[in-house]
């Protein structure tokens, strides 16, 4: 028999706090699709994804209805295409991206990740071809997401790759200038990319992973915010230690639900369950914002002094609750602060409370990085690359994942708005200081060596 308190508190979580499972992502290995014949490779890729994922959406909906917990996004991540399709040229890589796009449309999902390369120590011909193809591939497709890992704690930072990504992002923005450079919203540059991220745009299936696997992204910034608000309404004298305990308990509940739902989907699809990713992932909806949590904890806005401390506490409490709830935690597992995808963070960028420098500071204590940050269109490739190099350095030295999703909006300046639509939201373009002052540094190239932290054996 359940107690009234158990039933009513769950009722509350579901009714008023947007408890859902943010994403169920089916990882599919494409290594057995390998061929040096482009048509055969594309056919193999299409057929394998369709065979494994044909019932993904229907199964997620069925489980969601049965359990009364909606699964918001159903997605697919595949093996890094630069590895699976190593023999192909850049123009052929674009055709592969189109195959992924068509297949995603066919099975009814909004994003497919894994148009990816891992180049932290150097590039194969496949890596180079894939990166060269990214601007056109992301322009000609809607649903394909790309990621490039340019740094790791064990390899250091491949500065040639960072520079190349600066140029690639500029080109991708130019090719989609009518849509405010939207191609760049589907491209992440990483340090220490995890192999099992279920969240876009960074999802791909790593080489150590099974043939197929279900990874789940749980979320609920709304649940955390409401839990804090309710506790503070009942007892305004709660201190930060007590509030972090409330966040921890909430993360525990959210994670348990996510794993339960993910395991049910995996069981029905006949594939193994992989991990729960404990990230707090916002959307541009009211009540679903990470930025609002900062306000619930007493800051006027995210970006004001105190923000890094709040984020550090929030991120840590979420991990502690989640790690107790599930033994299989992976992916990014931390709070996301995507500027355009979060109403309050976007507002803080608009009102000037949140600068590029403060965003960078925040990323030293959370999981992702400079995410969905709109920048002036005239920013140089070198400055873009240097911003990424700084972000990669934070990840490499702190043995953590960092990433950038930067969008230089063609023809627009700081203070103007960029519109990406849907889940990608809209953002005010952030001012970049000293555009052009990093050119000589970036031209040096080479690889910044792995830090002493990498010598752990």
């Amino acid at each position: 028999m359940l107690t009234d308190r158990e039933v009513l508190s769950t009722f509350e979580m579901l009714k008023n706090e947007h408890l859902d499972v943010r994403t169920v992502t089916l990882g599919i290995s494409l290594f057995d699709c390998a061929s040096d014949d482009l048509d055969r490779f594309r056919r193999n890729v299409h057929d394998k994804i369709c065979r494994l994922a044909r019932h993904l959406v229907a199964t997620c909906d069925e489980v969601g209805v049965k359990y009364g917990i909606p699964i918001v996004n159903k997605r697919i991540s595949v093996s890094p295409i630069a590895v699976a399709g190593c023999p192909f040229s850049a123009s052929q890589m674009v055709e592969i991206a189109e195959t992924l796009d068509e297949t995603a449309r066919e099975i009814g999902i909004d994003f497919i990740g894994g148009f990816s390369a891992l180049v932290e120590k150097g590039m194969t011909t496949g890596d180079r071809a894939l990166i060269d193809s990214i601007p056109e591939a992301l322009t000609r497709t809607e649903r394909v997401c790309a990621s490039v890992n340019v740094a790791s704690t064990h390899a250091g930072i491949n500065m040639d790759a960072v520079y190349l990504m600066g140029q690639t992002i500029k080109r991708a923005a130019q090719l989609t200038e009518k849509a405010d450079g939207i191609a760049c919203a589907k491209l992440c540059v990483f340090a220490n990319i995890p192999q099992d991220v279920p969240f876009m745009a960074g999802a791909y299936l790593g080489v150590g992973e099974p043939d197929a696997v279900i990874n789940v992204g749980v979320s609920g910034p709304g649940v955390v915010k409401k839990a804090i608000d309710r506790a503070r309404a009942v007892n305004p004298r709660l201190d930060l230690g007590q509030l972090s305990e409330i966040i921890k308990r909430t993360a525990f509940k959210v994670t348990r639900v996510g794993e339960l739902i993910g395991r049910q989907v995996a069981l029905k699809l006949g594939v193994p369950f992989g991990v729960v990713d404990l990230s707090l992932a916002p959307t541009p909806n009211v009540g679903d914002s990470v930025g609002e949590i900062f306000e619930s904890l007493g800051l006027k806005s995210i970006g004001m002094p105190g923000s890094t401390a709040v984020l550090a506490m929030l991120n840590d409490a979420v991990k502690k609750g989640g790690a107790f709830a599930s033994s299989y935690v992976g992916g990014l597992s931390g709070a996301f602060i995507p500027v355009s995808e979060d109403l309050r963070i976007a507002e803080a960028a608009r009102s000037g409370h949140l600068s590029l420098e403060k965003l960078e500071a925040l990323t030293s204590v959370c999981s992702v990085g400079l995410d969905m940050v709109a920048l002036p269109g005239d920013i140089s490739a070198e400055t873009l690359a240097a911003i990424m190099a700084d972000e990669m350095a934070i990840g490499v030295i702190n043995k953590k994942t960092t990433a950038t999703r930067l969008i230089p909006v063609p023809g627009k300046k700081a203070g103007e708005k960029a519109f990406f639509g849907g889940l990608l939201g809209e953002a005010t373009i952030i001012h970049v200081a000293d555009n052009g002052g990093s050119a000589e540094f970036m031209s040096l190239g080479g690889r910044i060596p792995a830090p002493i932290q990498s010598l752990v054996n």
Partner: protein, 183 residues
């Protein structure tokens, strides 16, 4: 071994279960299950007990009434029938919660729908304290839903019924509660 089911009702106070179990012990009856609850001021208890072969049910009933009537308690006794074999339907446990202001017909409205879908209620707690505060007017149904049920259709029908009755409703698999609240 024969089994009987005994229900006891009366104004609640200390000593009721002691009186019932003492009377059963005197008749050498072995208690297998008890469930008791208190609604507002009233006690209700259900006892399942095995009775010795040489004891008649009528005699046992008279003996219980003799002990319990003076305490102001009503007693009802009947022999228990074995469940017919092979009639079990595979089900899954769910919890239905409603919140909303009291009015005539809330329980009848919800349970009528459950009955139409062949859904069995295994535990029900409802309290209507009046007023507009929805938290003081709650129904919590633990139910077994046949596996073959069309969940889309049932969920839609339940939402529609709740709307007609002015209730907020939630339908959740019991696993959700177990996962969230129990370690």
């Amino acid at each position: 071994m024969r089994k009987v089911i005994i229900t006891v009702l009366g104004h609640d106070r200390p000593g009721i279960v002691a009186a019932v179990s003492g009377a059963l012990l005197e008749q050498r009856c072995n208690i297998e299950d008890i469930s008791q609850t208190i609604l507002q001021t009233e006690f209700a208890g259900i006892f399942i007990a095995t009775i010795p072969d040489d004891t008649k049910e009528n005699d046992l009933c008279e003996s219980l009434e003799g002990k319990l009537h003076p305490l102001g308690l009503s007693v009802f006794l009947k022999p228990m029938q074995a469940a017919p074999a092979g009639t079990e339907i595979e089900t899954e446990p769910f919890v239905i919660t409603t919140l909303g202001p009291d009015r005539l017909g809330l329980v009848a409205g919800i349970t009528g729908l459950l009955s139409d879908y062949g859904i069995n209620i295994v535990h029900l707690k409802a309290a209507f304290r009046g007023g507009e505060d929805p938290r003081r007017n709650v129904m919590i149904y633990e139910v077994d839903i046949p596996v073959a049920t069309d969940h889309h259709a049932f969920r839609a029908a339940l939402s529609r019924r709740a709307r007609e009755l002015g209730l907020d409703v939630s339908l959740q698999h019991r696993d959700i509660f177990e996962e969230i609240h129990r370690v």
